[in-house]
Subunit: 290 residues, 2 copies
């Protein structure tokens, strides 16, 4: 692969994350406008991005192939199922030798789809852990990559030089830590840190209809439910796609909740305090920089 | 009552919240150093506060009575049960005509304790909704009152001029909104916005022993579990004191969680998306400024 500034980059899906990646490539990775293209179903974000001088060219969905054939590096920034549909539909259009990556929140299904993908195109699945409560290109400024995690789930045939290249781009975009794991490990861990948290936030809002309850908020409620302002179609897809791992995590959480409930119900102050002290210490440990 | 700057203020318990209130009285309410006293079990915070010029005098626990007899306004900044013990032990020491308030996170028990309290001292129970994950005077800078909620649960015999005075002090300290409700309503609402959130955060940490899981964090997990770094003795007390309302809230939450779990398990994408869309809209509504 060429050096970053000599590569032509393509963004498929100029939404919240696609827009944030485009901006990070331009601002932090020395990618010139004429080396950055974007493809999107609706034309509005493309026109905004062109006017702002963010991208060199915009392509609507039917012309995705034209863009792909001229790109050395492509970021697929669509919902998980749309990514799989896209690479099936446009398989032949990718430039031979190009590096493709994606941003999907589930990775086993992407790995499965890649089993029958072209071998002359290097697809390295990834997951930037840096979302926001709003969606769409107009909100992409809300995605702050600084200090955030990025997960990569490489497949066996990925070229090590491409992996190095992608990691370089990721760090330059602002991410602080890249963790490389199998798709299975990714889906199991993310079921806890991300999906379970979204389900909990949704359940918290689901069980209280009084929207004036925020008069009684002190920050905890607001912090726990901010992610309930989720992108409903995307999270529906993610929850159902990763249902096995997620349901296991919900069960584990329910067991811990039941235990605390029993201690409260039975007024077992010493046991409850002991448990809360352990929780406190573990969370402090989790917050420490490695 | 006198004007704020002519009153002598006393802080009982110079911990996280006591320290933050002392600073806010000095910085935002024109209270002079020689008009602000503090009483604390350990001497360290008193010495630090004296050296920093924050308070005019410090009193250790056995000398609490001396301070109380000279104060026009007293903030009781102790754990709920300690507040009740304190007003029983020092009932005779409060200055006749003085205004007392507290910061306890449960209010029915305070109201019950006040039924037999001196009638010549005006105790207005309150709850500043502005905590932090750390405790102690040294961390009181972490309590940011700006834009926060404050709940008051006045009792029948509170004087309206004292209530106005206290509200004036609260707004000047930086709080944005004061809500006045019965102790029962307070305990019911707070069981949801505060206690349930703390139980959930604790359960989330309780069910995952891998402290390196934060490599897979994207902000959601961190936001949902920050309050798991709770003050274990204080929250044990609050959970058990308010167990009836809290257990009801846990049950409601578990029902909503079960419903979402079933939709995920059964792969009912349309119903799940509909539910998540309602949740999203409700949370957006909750976030709007009134």
């Amino acid at each position: 692969l060429l050096s970053i500034k000599d590569c032509t980059f393509g963004i498929v899906g100029l939404g919240l994350m696609g827009g944030a990646i485009a901006k990070a490539l331009r601002d932090n990775c020395d990618v010139a406008r004429e080396k950055l293209f974007a493809c999107n179903r609706s034309k509005d974000p493309l026109e905004t991005a062109l006017k702002a001088g963010l991208i060199g060219r915009g392509y609507d969905a039917p012309h995705a192939g034209e863009m792909l054939s001229s790109c050395d590096v492509v970021f697929l920034c669509l919902n998980p199922s749309a990514i799989i549909n896209f690479i099936e539909q446009w398989a032949d259009a990718f430039k031979s030798g190009s590096l493709i990556t994606d941003i999907a929140g589930t990775k086993k299904n992407i790995a499965a789809a890649l089993e029958k993908f072209r071998e002359d195109v290097d697809f390295i699945p990834g997951h930037p852990m840096a979302g926001a409560e709003k969606s769409g290109f107009a909100n992409s400024e809300l995605c702050d990559f600084h200090g955030k995690n990025y997960i990569l789930t490489p497949i066996l045939r990925n070229k090590s030089e491409n992996l190095d290249f992608l990691k370089d781009v990721i760090y330059r975009m602002g991410f602080a830590r890249i963790t490389q794991v199998t798709p299975e490990e990714h889906d199991g861990k993310i079921a806890f840190t991300s999906q379970l948290c979204h389900v909990i936030a949704a359940a918290l809002i689901d069980c209280e209809t009084d929207t004036k309850i925020t008069r009684f908020g002190g920050g905890s409620f607001e912090d726990l439910t901010r992610i309930a302002m989720l992108n409903a179609p995307m999270w529906t897809e993610i929850f159902i796609e990763n249902n096995y791992a997620l349901l296991e995590r919900i069960d584990q959480f329910e067991k811990s909740l039941d235990l605390l409930k029993t201690l409260i119900k039975d007024g077992l102050a010493d046991e409850l305090m002991e448990r809360l002290t352990l929780v406190r210490e573990r969370r402090i440990e989790m917050g420490k920089k490695e």
